[in-house]
């Protein structure tokens, strides 16, 4: 089977998790794409850890405000009814359990629910930013990642080898192959995305994956 990396499918599937009124924090990079696919009839509240509730889309060219950015310093807008707050309040909201979902990028994620995404010792050390607080505080932690590294190795592991961002905090992993729940030190494949098959995913992933009895084959569109 040929693998073609597909970030959009990951974003599209994650966008279907949310119900109206839920508070969501989207990380920088792939997770940011999720915002593009939230169904029209669902109104979520996007929290941005740099101090905003009601994060809106990018402004039109020429309308940028240098005082209004997302956590990646890109110009954004604020939705009607939104508000601003300082960083202590922002992380009070995050640690205090007031964020329903956090969606984060991944270097490695393992079957115990550990996540590594802030440090490759000696090589790349971006820092954890708000990711440790978000994974600790959010009700549901979704790891969003292409299934494979450029080398072809699976990003889903038995055990992370890199320094951890989160210990046993990940609830769901969505890759471009499928949706996995993390429970009792196993991944549970609950949705397999077309054209892939559960057998192929199991073969290509060096981790303990249980295919759920009610695992569905899903076409992402």
């Amino acid at each position: 089977m040929e693998y073609i990396a597909n970030k959009e499918n990951i974003a599209k599937r994650i966008a279907k998790f949310f119900k109206s009124g839920e508070v969501v924090n989207l990380g920088i990079g792939l997770p940011t794409l999720v915002g593009n696919y939230v169904p029209k009839d669902v109104t979520i509240v996007l929290q941005s850890e740099n101090g905003m509730m009601g994060l809106g889309p990018a402004p039109a060219k020429g309308e940028e405000n240098r005082d209004l950015t997302n956590a990646g310093s890109a110009p954004v807008t604020v939705q009607i009814g939104g508000c601003f707050f300082d960083s202590a309040t922002s992380f009070g909201i995050i640690r205090g359990g007031h964020v329903d979902y956090t969606v984060l990028g991944v270097l490695e994620v393992d079957q115990e629910g550990n996540l590594a995404n802030y440090k490759v010792p000696g090589k790349m050390v971006p820092g954890m930013g708000g990711a440790m607080d978000l994974t600790t505080g959010a009700r549901v932690v979704i790891a969003a990642t292409l299934h494979f590294e450029p080398s072809g190795a699976s990003r889903m592991k038995r055990k992370c080898t890199l320094p951890l961002t989160a210990a046993r905090e990940v609830n769901v992993v969505v890759t471009d192959l499928g949706l996995f729940e993390v429970m009792g030190d196993r991944f549970y494949l609950t949705e397999c995305f077309e054209p892939y098959t559960p057998e192929w995913i199991l073969e290509k992933t060096d981790a303990d994956i249980v295919v759920k009895n009610d695992c569905r084959i899903v076409k992402i569109d």
């Binding site: 005082d67 601003f84 300082d86 960083s87 050390v125 971006p126 930013g129 708000g130």
Partner: protein, 228 residues
Amino acid sequence: MIEKPIISAAEAAGKIREGDSLMVGGFLACGSPHTIIQALKEKGTKNLTLICNDTAAHDLKSGKITGVGYLVQGKQFKKIIASHIGLNQETQRQMNAGETVVELVPQGTLAEQVRAAGSGLGGFLTPTGVGTEVEKGKQVILVNDRPFLLELPLKADVAIIKAKKADRAGNLVYNATARNFNPLMATAANLVIAEAEEIVEIGEIDPNEVHTPSIFVDFLVKAERLEW
């Protein structure tokens, strides 16, 4: 209300001494006091310890720098305490070369450490970082069987912060996401210098709208540089 002195950016930079710990407001240069930063770069004061959310940006290929990245470029810090250095390749280079000590702190912990220092707390218990490298060397305290890390307050000799508007008494109003760490740092340093885009007379800011009470601010600087 007593009026606070309005000083030049160069005078503000002169109040920061070699070896000082320095808090700088801003989040990836959004809401940083760019006028004072440039003056401090010019002055070249060294051996500072930076406490800031991040070290803004420095792309070694294009040479593009923002915010406190200018001070990192001038090697003005012996130590950097921040949550994120990912957009500043020069910080990473200095860290890997052993030229500058970098201490990475979870963003919420850093914010709360500053808040704790400014509000007289001896520290706080946070679940953030349990089971990670952040836990190393820290006291783990169980509360109702859940592990928390004891994190200590973080003070500085000087804080330089940025507001949209100040009155002559030092009451401050921030704009949008340029607020971030600024109001916290205003409370946690021995000397607080606020750079403001607009400085108005006492009474011109509605007391209901004040974000940082005047008593925290020692000096005001009129912002001249707004670009990052």
